[in-house]
């Protein structure tokens, strides 16, 4: 009897103390030997397992970049597929180290969830897809339509705003998993499928007859997608943030995965600082000085990642557009490494 009471007390004491742990994510990651990365349940181009079961995509590349910076080995990542509904809880509870899952940066998410957005790795906007045979040319003709979407997303909120502002009637059908949304749209449960426009192009590939569907021209929202980390761990926040910046800076300076080794002997001090042959930027981040070199040589610069996953030569065939460098008319801009 006494033993039971003592062990019960022990359990309580544990639950009391265990709650406020996990402050230094970088130390935890180094100790366990891999980065636990929260990704989608399968969104081609962003995070999707290929035919061999390896995760690929622009969001996956960010996690691989973080692993390259910490361990010098981009393969030291473990992936947790998450639904839109589960994603923030998984990060808050410490189940994952970084959430890289086409997640829109909003004020509410940034301020009330105890999370921080560490940059924007894809500038997106919400669009609509319909069946071609409906003959719809504009989203303004959609009054009376049934709209399929994912629950727990900004998409769900934007669509309500858009239809209300334009005084259009609609029916929202919100599923928990992206695959269920696609299946319901394909079966004709809805007339319209709405999500981020990149997602529409990606999910269209999963439909029975992709050619029978058309993406409408309207973009109804700003959807800056980026990686998310827990609030209050600035070291880890910095590392994830600068992983993305390193990739953008590399593109701007013309460093690619192929020429990174050769570039080490460049005379350009900006390139030298990125590749770690000058300065001590790695140490300040808590990783090796060759952190950016590892990211670039193993994962590639931002342009390489974009073109490999979503670019014009992939089935998604998305042009750079707003995701081009600032110097080429786009929005991708990284603070300098100096």
């Amino acid at each position: 009897m006494k033993k039971t009471i003592v062990s019960a007390l022990g359990v309580v004491a544990l639950s009391v103390s265990a709650l406020s742990a996990s402050a230094a994510t970088l130390d935890d990651v180094k100790a366990k030997g891999f980065v636990q990365c929260g990704v989608s349940q399968g969104l081609p181009g962003f995070s999707n397992p290929d035919s061999a079961g390896n995760w690929t995509g622009i969001d996956v590349d960010l996690c691989r970049g973080v692993a390259a910076a910490v361990f010098g080995d981009a393969t030291k990542v473990k992936y947790t597929p998450l639904s839109a509904k589960e994603r923030f809880t998984a990060l808050q509870s410490g189940e994952i180290d970084v959430l890289s899952r086409n997640t829109t940066w909003t004020a509410t998410r940034d301020t009330t969830l105890g999370l921080n957005f560490a940059g924007v790795n894809y500038y997106d906007g919400q669009g609509f897809m319909v069946r071609k045979d409906l003959g719809v040319k504009s989203a303004l003709e959609l009054s009376g339509a049934s709209v399929c979407t994912n629950t727990g997303t900004t998409t769900e909120l934007n669509v309500a705003d858009y239809f209300t502002t334009n005084k259009l009637e609609y029916e929202i059908v919100a599923f928990e998993k992206a695959d269920e949304v696609v299946a319901a749209y394909d079966a004709g449960r809805c007339d319209v499928y709405t999500t981020d426009q990149s997602g529409l192009y990606a999910q269209r590939l999963k439909l029975t007859n992709p050619a029978d569907h058309v993406v409408l021209p309207e973009i109804i929202s700003k959807e800056p997608l980026g990686p998310v980390v827990r609030q209050g761990d600035d070291q880890w926040f910095n590392l994830v943030k600068w992983t993305h910046f390193a990739m953008v800076n590399a593109e701007e300076l013309g460093i690619t995965s192929e020429n990174a080794e050769a570039m080490k002997s460049s005379d350009n001090p900006a390139i030298k600082r990125v590749l770690g042959t000058e300065g001590e930027f790695g140490a300040a981040l808590g990783v090796g000085n060759d952190w950016a070199f590892n990211i670039i040589s193993q994962v590639g610069n931002y342009a390489e990642s974009f073109n490999r996953n979503v670019g014009p030569d992939t089935p998604l065939a998305i042009s750079r557009g707003t995701n081009d460098l600032w110097s080429k008319g786009g929005l991708q801009y990284a603070p300098p490494i100096r």
Binding site: T89, T108, R109, T151, L157, D161, E171, A174, G188, R189
Partner: protein, 398 residues
Amino acid sequence: MAVTDMPTGDEKPKVKLLNDPKFRSIVFQVILIIFLVWVVWSMIDNASTNLKNAGIASGFGFLSTSSGFGLNFSPFLEYSSSSSFLQVYWVGLQNTLVLAVIGIFFATIIGFVMGVARLSNNWVISKIAYWYVEIMRNTPLLLQIFIWYKGVLATLPLAKDSIDLGALGFLNTKGLFAPKFVTADGAGLIGWALLIGLVITFVIKSWAKKRQMATGERFPVFWTGLGLIIGLPLLTYFIMGQPISTEYPTAGNFGPRGGMRVIPEFIALILALSLYTAAFIAEIVRAGILAVNRGQTEASYALGLRPGQTLRLNIIPQALRVIIPPLTSQYLNLTKNSSLAVAIAYPDLTAVFAGTALNQTGQAVEIVGMTMLTYLALSLITSLFMNWYNAKNSLVER
């Protein structure tokens, strides 16, 4: 028997306070209560402190802010994307209740029919009931929901080639588009006529029972009641100049519009929940009937009652005493199982409040707590009602 030294009279045995069993038990109970209070308090305090430290918002202020998202099913309550999160809660609760009440209604009817059918002397009928029960009871409910939703309803034609059901409206992948009743002035009187019919029937019934007890004469209560309940409103309907008309759905750009819309998610859930629970109810009904002594049936037959009368007047009333307690658990199960609605996008309490609202606000502790308390309250209310009904039906000893 051994003789022992027993204290005599009212003299209390002299024991130390520490060894007094009464005192000890009180002390232990007080310690236990203090310990439990401390555990609960420290859990609440911990949660709030940790949420604060992690920078996660807490409190119930979010309930009054507007939700910003739409919902596609709210049969009675008003809802738009500018409604508050509290309204989301009410709509979710409403949708859960609608599902549970209609589900329980059909499950009870199908369950009783199947339970009686299993005991039928007709070989085909009893085997059909047997296989129905075995198949429904031994496959997972979630799977059955998916079969109805994805296997049956999703294979209906697209909205532009709807199946025309004539007077019943249209059927397609987007659901059933049935005609809607539209009321004009004077329609309220029909409701009153119905109420008056019901009251008069009730009065006649108690009068007829008294008279039968006193004189043995019977009065055709059923037919008189039917005439009053249906005839009176019907008469009012024609006198008032037919104030109720039907609005038929018409063709729109995206399939039928107008009329009354029943979404396929709702149809799939009602089918799955009622057919699944009915299988369990059938077994309970069968057990209840079998629990009534065979002699009761024989006695009824000996008195000249027909099999139908025997079942209705003798067996079922006695079987109900056995049936009601386990039936209560089935009703509770159905209500709780309705939360599986989340799998097919039906906006019930779990899906819209513990799902969408939780995700849009991030206030997991508050929302999950509220949802759990709600299901608990629903179950307790159902239990209370069934306990009352059980007490009413139990054996009255004179």
